[in-house]
């Protein structure tokens, strides 16, 4: 039992607490709970290497490119986290995003629907796809690997049908195009930073106060300060760089501000983090991923949880498809194809989500998505051929899965000491 409810332990919780927290963290990492560490280290190493090899890499233009390049994959990865948390896989997420993007293109351009109706329809298609896959996996009991592999093949065909055997549908709607091609006013970027940091600090302090008032172990104020400080520095730096002029010819056209996809990803990140960490539904997702039998005995409807995870995954794929269509200004048979799925799975796993289920966060998709974006972008700048890109991408995915498997081994070895 914890004895930290004793008053004398609470009194020292401020300064000694940070040291203790750091020690606990080191112990957790040694025990195999790596968390975000591989992604952060990978990001630093990759950025350093590319910055040395290619001077363009660190330019403001390229920095902004990273966000729009990684956005689609990050969003799809965020949905995949839910499926991976259950220990399942969705191989069809890439082409599901393609199908949704094709619906969007057909409805917008060919049928002349307003953008909001087309977006809603595309998202609805995603939800329906998720319902069907989830039902087949949960109720019929077909392994998700097989169901989604079948869907992976079938959806390629569906995209071709929707696009009349491979024609390219261009997107002309200004709202949809704005998602991946426009930027926010610079002042709005700064406002976002200030509001975000203040809200984060406020929530953390409130939580700390509430727990301390009830005599529970609360995070030390110093740790909160470190977290808030890190968020302020990182977001402040990003917005500063994104607000620099990055047009080659500023006299003719000015190009500044945070890309519009960034706040979209942030909102999705906040929503799914809230769902996973603060709601009963999120808790049950973790429970089913950790021990489905225990969850079932605890009265949790395991089938319902499984189906909803696939629905969330395909829904997020539809959002990813919309972003991809916006970025390419068009929909073609390759939208969501080639290695989008591999990148998305890689992003989730690199970020720290386990392929074995039960471990993962929405944030993992963003961290891993950043790594993937840096790899794609950096290799593009270096002018490698696609053959090298494929090999490197495969290697990165394998490396991430290897780290996952090793840390799991380590955790079970140290956990059952």
């Amino acid at each position: 039992m914890t004895t930290t409810t004793a008053p004398e332990e609470k009194a020292v919780a401020t300064s000694a607490g940070l040291n203790q927290q750091v020690r606990d963290y080191v112990e957790r990492v040694r025990g195999g709970e790596l968390g975000a560490l591989p992604a952060v280290i990978g990001l630093i190493v990759l950025c350093t290497v590319f910055a040395i090899l290619s001077p363009v890499f660190l330019s403001p233009v390229n920095f902004a490119n990273l966000f729009t390049q990684g956005a689609g994959v990050t969003v799809i990865a965020m949905g995949l986290v839910f499926v991976l948390l259950l220990g399942e896989i969705d191989l069809s997420a890439g082409f599901a995003s393609g199908v949704c993007a094709a619906f969007l293109g057909v409805l917008l351009t060919n049928e002349g629907w307003p953008w909001y109706a087309a977006v809603l329809a595309a998202m609805l298609v995603g939800v329906v796809i998720g319902l069907i896959i989830g039902w087949l996996v949960a109720k019929l009991g077909i392994p998700s690997f097989v169901v989604t592999l079948a869907a992976f093949l079938a959806f390629q065909g569906v995209v071709l049908i929707l696009l009349d055997e491979g024609t390219n549908i261009s997107i002309r709607d200004s709202v949809i195009l704005a998602i991946a091609n426009e930027n926010m006013y610079p002042w709005l970027g700064w406002a976002l930073v200030v509001v975000g940091v203040l809200a984060y600090a406020g929530l953390q302090l409130l939580n700390n106060r509430r727990r301390a008032a009830r005599g529970l172990v609360a995070d030390p104020l110093s740790l909160i300060a470190v977290r808030v400080g890190a968020l302020a520095v990182a977001s402040g730096f990003a917005v500063y760089v994104l607000n620099l002029e990055r047009s080659r010819n500023p006299g003719v056209i000015s190009l500044t501000g945070v890309p519009v996809v960034v706040p979209i990803i942030l909102v999705l990140l906040l929503v799914w983090t809230f769902v996973l960490r603060r709601t009963r539904f999120g808790r049950h997702i973790y429970a089913v991923g950790g021990n489905a039998e225990a969850a079932r005995r605890a009265g949790i409807n395991v089938d319902r949880i499984k189906i909803s995870a696939f629905v969330i995954c395909s829904f997020m794929a539809s959002v990813g498809g919309i972003i991809a269509a916006s970025r390419a200004n068009s929909v073609d048979p390759n939208t969501g194809g080639s290695n989008v799925l591999l990148f998305a799975v890689g992003a989730a796993v690199i970020g720290g989500t386990s392929l074995f289920g039960g471990k993962g966060r929405a944030l993992d998709a963003v961290l891993g998505g950043a790594v993937v974006a840096v790899v794609i972008n950096g290799m593009g700048l270096m002018g490698y051929s696609s053959s090298v890109k494929y090999v490197v991408t495969g290697a990165v995915l394998l490396l991430a899965a290897g780290v996952d498997a090793l840390s799991r081994k380590r955790a079970s070895a140290s956990g059952r000491r």
């Binding site: 039992m1 930290t4 429970a287 225990a294 009265g299």
Partner: protein, 258 residues
């Protein structure tokens, strides 16, 4: 010494297809006592427990709880009565912490959000009430706990809900010597707090160390239900292996009143 049984089964029959697993079984559990349920492999211990827990419906027989006849048709009914079963394979989620496991499926909410603080307080209170002091933090993952600690969490989870009957399916089977002693101590404390505890065990040392009564099943029949102080080790072993021991046990297929 004790008053009326809190849970009583009479004339329970249970078949799986052509195989009759339980024959006319009577079983009583008293508050404040540890009742050991013993029997060889296949004697019907697990089936009996699952009938009590509402997982298997029984074919015929009567189920009394606190003197009233009740109908238990599912695990939820049993839980509503205050009957909790701690299974051998524990049913804990490794990737969740102690508090999360104890409230699994019955989480407290404040509006839309989980009420973590209240849950943590209640979990802490329960563990203190059971005099459990071996756990470092309530927020550590179950994967980092020892076998004895896991068993403790599983038992605490069962006690959290003001349960009246706690059934433990071989709680010490996979534990070392020190941890076994720890868990047995906890079992004794549960009974001393007034709960009715059913302990399924193959280990005669455990049974004699902690139980007040022993119920021995033999090939699906209740061979005898006796006070632990009235019998010896070898009598119980005979009851388990042969169904009878001198005057005790089944006489010509019928149960002798012990």
């Amino acid at each position: 010494m004790s008053t009326a049984p809190v849970l009583e089964l009479r004339g329970i029959d249970k078949s799986f297809g052509p195989v009759q697993v339980l024959h006319d079984v009577a079983f009583s559990v008293y508050p404040g006592e540890v009742t050991a349920l013993v029997g060889d492999n296949g004697a019907g211990k697990s089936t009996l427990v699952k009938c009590i827990g509402g997982i298997h419906p029984f074919d015929s027989g009567e189920y009394y709880f606190e003197g009233r006849q009740v109908h238990v048709s599912g695990p939820r009914d049993a839980a509503a009565l205050g009957v909790e079963i701690v299974y051998q394979d524990l049913a804990l989620c490794d990737n969740l912490d102690i508090v999360q496991n104890m409230f699994l499926g019955r989480e407290r909410k404040r509006g839309l959000v989980l009420d973590e603080d209240t849950m943590e307080e209640m979990a802490a209170k329960t563990l203190v009430g059971l005099s459990v002091r071996t756990v470092k933090s309530l927020r550590q993952h179950v994967s980092s706990l020892s076998g004895g600690q896991r068993q403790t969490v599983a038992i605490a989870k069962a006690v959290l809900w003001n349960s009246k009957v706690v059934i433990l399916d071989e709680p010490t089977a996979a534990l070392g010597v020190a941890q076994t002693a720890q868990v047995l101590e906890l079992v004794r404390r549960l009974a001393d707090k007034g709960l009715a505890v059913v302990l399924i065990s193959h280990n005669m040392n455990d049974v004699f160390a902690v139980s007040d009564r022993i119920a021995a099943l033999y090939l699906g029949r209740m061979a005898a239900q006796v006070k632990t102080s009235d019998v010896t080790h070898s009598q119980i072993v005979e009851l388990i292996t042969a169904g009878r021991s001198g005057e005790l046990g089944l006489q010509n297929g019928k149960e002798a009143t012990a």
